[in-house]
Amino acid sequence: MAAFDFRQAKEIRDVFGKHAVSYLFIGKSGALLLGYPDTTQDADVFVKRTEENCEALLDALLELGFTFTDSQAAEVRRGKDFIQLQNGPFDLDLVFAPDGIERFEDAWSRHVDVEGFPVCHIDDIIASKQAANRQRDRESLPRLRAFREYWLETRGKRG
């Protein structure tokens, strides 16, 4: 499978939008959308866990080309805390309860729109990685915090 690309990111944006899925890009893929220069493999989306939204999410994923058994579809409908998808055109992590963020509505109220992509605020991305406290997060946090400084200072100057 080729690496995730801009066309696929736009497909997520457009198809999730069509199905009115409430979601935010989070994690490193979210930081990348904000302008953080780094590399990653897959996209992570923080999805609002309501019955209606999970149903819309499942419909959107099916339209994107993901395939599910009945039991897998049921797990998406339930909005399990973390779902790793490698059963479609690209890899996608669904996060319904990211570490360090209390409620989807809180993150949504702070979110940033990047060319139509809904993205968690850099503070929420950092809070999530800080709370997860994995080795890989520990290593990336100093640079991510430096990017936060840069982003906060320059975002008003960008178009």
Binding site: A3, Y36, Q41, Q84, R136, A146, E149
Partner: protein, 74 residues
């Protein structure tokens, strides 16, 4: 590493140069540079995984993934 003054804490000059270079690139190009495909042992060996809680997911990573992937908690 030298520090450029930007923000209260200052940012290492090398990182600042990276941030400024990225800011000059259009989003499509930034994403082309950002997403790379590598094989991650075990993690990439299943087409679907679901975890009831993030704690379950973290424990699974710690129990099953090679430590050098960095998914273990500190």
């Amino acid at each position: 590493m030298s520090k450029a003054r930007l923000g209260a804490e200052g940012i290492p000059a090398e990182w600042l140069a990276d941030f400024e270079a990225a800011a000059r690139r259009p989003l499509e190009l930034r994403m082309r540079y950002a997403f790379v495909r590598t094989y991650r042992p075990v993690l990439d060996d299943a087409r679907f995984r679901a975890f009831d809680t993030m704690e379950d997911y973290r424990r699974w990573c710690e129990a099953h993934l090679p430590s050098w992937l960095g998914y273990g908690r500190v």
